[in-house]
């Protein structure tokens, strides 16, 4: 499937990347070429093949990397905030999240 500059813009938006016009011009053909390359996998019929998720045990079984969903000690608030660009009152401060009604269209 050919990839257009408008596809690239849409993907950038999904990925929260703001890309410049110049980046758009270089990225579009590069991503298109890579996608064309990976599409060689379509030569293979994989309809009866299980996907390879997870590692292998010494016995040749697939590992199941799940653990109990339980609370455990973690960094603590002070340490967790130590590297924050803008900590405030024990929280991470960010620009406003809720738009006014006239701004909403832009969200």
């Amino acid at each position: 499937m050919p990839i257009t500059e408008s596809d690239i813009k849409k993907i950038a938006s999904l990925a929260h990347l703001e890309i410049t016009d110049e980046e758009l011009r270089t990225l579009a053909p590069q991503v298109a070429a890579i996608v064309a390359y990976v599409e060689q996998l379509n030569e293979l019929d994989t309809s009866a093949v299980e996907p390879a998720i997870g590692g292998m045990t010494p016995e040749g079984e697939r590992t199941r990397a799940v653990r109990e969903d339980a609370t455990r000690p973690s960094l603590g608030q002070e340490l967790a905030l130590e590297q924050a660009p803008e900590p405030a009152h024990g929280h991470f401060r960010v620009p406003k999240v809720i738009a006014s009604s006239e701004e909403k269209e832009n969200f």
Partner: protein, 485 residues
């Protein structure tokens, strides 16, 4: 091995025999790191004060009995060391200091190692030349006009230049074996689940594995033995006993079978590299091993599978860099969404953006089955190829890289040709099997060549023993032009 090489074996015997101290050894390593960094740019941080303090503690009796007591090591800048930076070669993590140690860091420290610095790498471990670092490229100690390989290029250069005898890197598609080959040293990628990734910054979580560089197979085996094993904090680590990889070295190769996939020795393989690797195959025959033909019919799809899986997982893992909790945040954003976008636009480099874009595309609505699922299915076929090959051999031997070290800038405009540098290595990551790259001489123009052995899941003892046998018979006699005195 010429006596000039300060291996772990040598350093340990000097310290335990009272001929040297951890402080003397650390100072020597730090001096070399500082002296050579202008030429190589291998280190992003050199911790003279911390390393000397640590060495002094060891000399005063701390860490007695540790297998790496007083051994200087360097860690790739995507592995957390408390009190040191972890930029991952990215501007988005400039100045970031993780508040905890990675499990591998804890284990190195417990064994008495001295961390002298954090090494340069391709941004978020994405690259095959180290040219994608936001802090400038690393240069190859054999020829500073050439790349050291990547993404763990700084660790590779630091070991090749004899600044440290061993270093840690990380692999997602060959990021330790490939630079090891281009720098003339040993690189080991363990089985998926062998080494904890707690404290390793995530890239492609179904592929990532902390990996080891050493001057010798023995040194690499010793470091691997130190860091391997189950860790409750990484649920992908398997509860499988860690064999003594060092004790397993030695012995003759009678009965050993080396599988050679001849179909992979054709198109795209540099003639000089092929000649050296063919020489290694012959050497195994001379050592008493049996050489058999094997086929890996799906190996040619590895790069395509890899670039779907790795980018999809990366686009998800790198969503966390949003300027909220740590790292860089763009100035004066007008709202939250603009903060996210500008932080990521200004903080990420071109290759990282390209991969996030590609990964987002293959995971986007309606494409998941066509790309990610398809790639995971072909990945199963690649794993099956190896399982079937291992019915007739103990290790599969290939070149580690299709060419020797290339010139800086040679492949930067063509991402796909750069990706093809990993053609021989990424199949082991996809299959989850271990691999080791071993130096096997130089090209006529003086650049190192490596071959790799890939083994069964949890088959590190087999490939390390085979690698060691070759190395003992054919040690690399030459040394790089840029190295510690």
């Amino acid at each position: 091995m010429p006596s000039s090489d300060r291996t772990i074996e040598l350093i340990s015997s000097e310290i335990s025999g009272g001929k040297s101290t951890a402080q003397t050894v650390a100072a020597r390593s730090l001096d070399a790191a500082e002296r050579l960094n202008g030429e190589l740019n291998a280190f992003l941080q050199i911790d003279r004060v911390g390393a000397l303090r640590r060495a002094k503690g060891l000399d005063e009796g701390a860490g007695a009995g540790g297998a790496l007591r007083g051994v200087p090591v360097a860690l790739k800048d995507n592995i957390c060391v408390r009190g040191m930076q972890a930029t991952c070669g990215s501007s988005i993590l400039a100045g970031y200091h993780p508040p905890y140690d990675a499990t591998v860091t804890e284990r190195l420290n417990a064994a008495g190692a001295v961390v002298v610095g954090k090494t340069n790498c391709d941004e978020f471990a994405m690259g095959s030349s180290n040219e994608n670092s936001a802090y400038g490229p690393v240069r190859n100690p054999w020829d500073t006009r050439r790349v050291p390989g990547g993404s763990s290029g700084g660790s590779a250069a630091a070991v090749a230049a004899r600044i440290v005898p061993a270093a840690l890197g990380s692999e997602t598609g060959g990021s330790v074996r490939q630079p090891a080959a281009l720098c003339g040293i040993v690189g080991v990628k363990p089985t998926y689940g062998r080494v904890s990734r707690y404290g390793l910054v995530a890239f492609g979580s179904s592929l990532d594995q902390v990996s080891v560089f050493g001057l010798t197979v023995r040194d690499a085996a010793l470091v691997l033995r130190t860091i391997a094993g189950r860790d409750e904090r990484d649920s992908t680590t398997a509860d499988v006993e860690v064999p003594d990889y060092v004790a397993g070295l030695g012995g003759d190769l009678k009965g050993a079978r080396i599988g050679v996939p001849r179909a992979l020795f054709g198109e795209g393989l540099d003639a000089d590299v092929r000649a050296r690797v063919e020489g290694a195959v012959d050497a195994y025959r001379d050592l008493g091993a049996e050489v058999v033909d094997v086929e890996l019919p799906h190996a040619k799809y590895s790069i395509a599978v890899y670039y779907i899986i790795a980018t999809a997982e990366a686009s998800s893992n790198l969503a966390r860099y949003d300027g909220v909790r740590y790292g860089f945040r763009a100035e004066d954003p007008k709202d939250l969404r603009e903060m996210y976008r500008r932080t990521r636009e200004e903080g990420f480099g071109a290759e990282v953006k390209r991969r996030i874009m590609l990964g987002t595309y293959v995971l986007s609505s309606g494409y998941y089955d066509a790309y990610y699922l398809k790639a995971q299915q072909v990945r199963t076929l690649i794993q099956r190829d190896f399982l079937s090959a291992f019915e007739t051999c103990d290790a599969v031997l290939t070149p580690t890289t299709p060419t020797p070290a290339f010139r800086l800038g040679e492949k930067t405009d063509d991402p796909l040709s750069m990706y093809l540098s990993d053609i021989y290595t990424c199949m082991a990551n996809l299959a989850g099997i271990p691999g080791v790259s071993v130096p096997c001489g130089l090209t006529p123009s003086g650049l190192p060549v490596g071959f790799q052995l890939m083994g069964r899941h949890w088959g590190e003892p087999d490939i390390l023993r085979l690698a060691h046998a070759y190395e003992q018979a054919h040690p690399l006699a030459e040394r790089p032009g840029v190295m510690a005195e």
